[in-house]
Subunit: 109 residues, 2 copies
DNA sequence: ATAGTCCGCTACGAAATAAGTAGCGATTGT
DNA sequence: ACAATCGCTACTTATTTCGTAGCGGACTAT
């Protein structure tokens, strides 16, 4: 006699806590990758597209809009750059690189 | 006269570095969320589904398979749990919670 | 034994998102 | 003037995710 699942809910969305909004944003294809590339260097639209394995420009365009809206990225005459917020996010995400290396070791077996 | 975009490439995929594979995995809807919930408590299929805002069971099922394949999650009689690797991933991802809080402050303006 | 309930999970059509390609108008270089 | 490149949009196709119904197994109550 547990409570049945609620019939309608805002799904996969910012229900309550801030971290959920982060999952929504980063849990979308390309967003982490774009941030990662921009953390290495600020890039023009075409350059960013190339860095991201030639991802389609239509998607790149909407991603840039999202990330700009989220105040993680901004546009300059020299290309797209990370904001302070964007940089701080990439700092917290930085340990992922090392974890990824360990994980790769463990997984190829 | 820059090199034109290569016509075909494995896109959004593990081209070279380990971190790209991580982006592929975590850059999918629900994966981070599932890991996050399992980091708090080990949960049965139905319970996990409820925690994740009632996400569809078909997707949950494929996600569990992926995460199991990736050696981040395993199945027990008491429900799904994080492996050591999964736990270490959540540790590196933990600072995200604080960042999310700061970000929420900055963004609601 | 039978019927009811809950479980993990699958099947399958509908909706949403991403990919792929062509090309426009603006700018830059020759 | 001309060609090349740029950022970006429009549009079609492919892939992913949702939503719902329901199967077979385990457990329980009658």
């Amino acid at each position: 006699m547990t409570t049945p699942l609620p019939k309608k809910l805002v799904r996969g969305s910012t229900s309550g806590v801030a971290i959920m909004a982060v999952f929504d944003l980063l849990g979308r294809k390309w967003n982490m990758r774009i941030m990662w590339e921009l953390n290495t260097a600020s890039l023009s639209f075409r350059a960013l597209q190339e860095q991201c394995d030639g991802m389609s420009p239509s998607v790149l365009n909407t991603r840039i809009k999202q990330l700009t809206e989220a105040k993680l990225v901004y546009t300059t005459s020299e290309g797209y750059k990370l904001t302070e917020l964007g940089l701080s996010l990439m700092n917290t995400l930085n340990p992922l690189r090392d974890w990824a290396a360990e994980w790769e070791e463990e997984i190829k077996q």
